[in-house]
Subunit: 205 residues, 2 copies
């Protein structure tokens, strides 16, 4: 692309560094900002600058937080003995939205992925194992995405805690509520059948 | 969405103001920035801030430019008597890429669109008419997109310059080079037939 302005070119290049945003989309976004009042861009850039400079991770669960100990970890209503292991803040938000989980979280910050150069030491795995060894925890719930990387990460943690006296579970995989059986993939349907539950339990909302 | 951090929430809200970016995509982009080194976000926000504060419009063609008179307007190789009327900088870039146009541009900054509250006075139409009235211009080439708004804008300008002694043309509409006739829409194919050209001309690259 041949730009008529270096300023425009710089802005487009920086925006197109974001994942899933190519040069054309970047140009569209930047031209949108130019059509808005200047303050609008100021709000955007200040919000981003403040975020990356002031953001903290909760010192207990490593979730993104504005304070040292996040809202969930500092709540007295949560069950400290059950810990749900998730990948990032989006998973915490998704599970909190269901209002079905009363325990605590432990945010790994990713999955083990040799292809992307992410090893166990880049994640909050040691702190999780330490937490379990401290003795308060009774159950660990794995809630990573069911991909190769997710399974690897689950298994890596499992090996380190399996001899400790805790229950280790994983969230159920199966057909989505409301889905038609004929359109489900075989692996998911297979798991649904293998991990079938007493009918009375399926009546719970 | 329930965010664990006000800083995160602010950043996501600001990013999701951009066109075509919803809350989920905004969260994904913001989390990407958090995983990058802080400087990366600094480059992005500085590029955007510099753009909106320092950007200039060329005083002749109103294209985005770093200097008072853009490269095209200050070039001695361009034909000052032919002016191509376009909507924004993207159209200038697209036409320059073809290397088929040696004249100058006039960037309107949009199209007349009552629905979006854009009237003739929000666009660089008066300056275009003044330029034509000054007498140097021999041909005006309309290259707005062929939508209702584009046609309205073309016609609005046409009415004001049609009595002046200039040639007024519009870029050709027709089947794309390499396209199959059977997949073309009727309106485009119809225009291709109505505006057919001497066969010898079609041999030019």
């Amino acid at each position: 692309m041949d730009f008529s302005s270096k300023l425009l070119e710089n802005a487009v290049n920086e925006v197109s560094q974001l994942p899933g945003i190519g040069k054309r989309t970047a140009l569209r976004l930047v031209l949108h900002l130019l059509r808005q009042p200047k303050e609008q861009t100021g709000y955007l850039t200040r919000a981003l600058d403040n975020l990356v400079t002031d953001i903290k991770l909760c010192k207990n669960c490593y979730n993104i937080s504005d304070v040292e100990l996040c809202e969930i970890c500092s709540s007295h209503k949560r069950d400290e003995t059950t810990i749900c292991v998730v990948e990032d803040v989006r998973d915490v938000m998704a599970i909190e939205n269901t209002a079905q989980f009363q325990g605590m979280y432990h945010v790994l910050g990713g999955k083990i992925s040799p292809m992307e150069g992410i090893g166990p030491n880049n994640l909050q795995i040691e702190s999780l194992v330490d937490k379990v060894k401290a003795g308060k925890v009774k159950e660990l719930v794995f809630a990573l995405s069911s991909t190769m990387e997710g399974d690897t990460t689950n298994f890596y943690i499992y090996k380190q805690v399996k001899d400790l006296d805790i229950k280790i579970s994983a969230i159920a995989r199966g057909i989505s509520v409301g889905d038609e059986l004929e359109y489900a993939d075989e692996v998911t349907l297979g798991r649904s059948i293998l991990n079938r539950i007493p009918f009375e339990n399926s009546l719970r909302q």
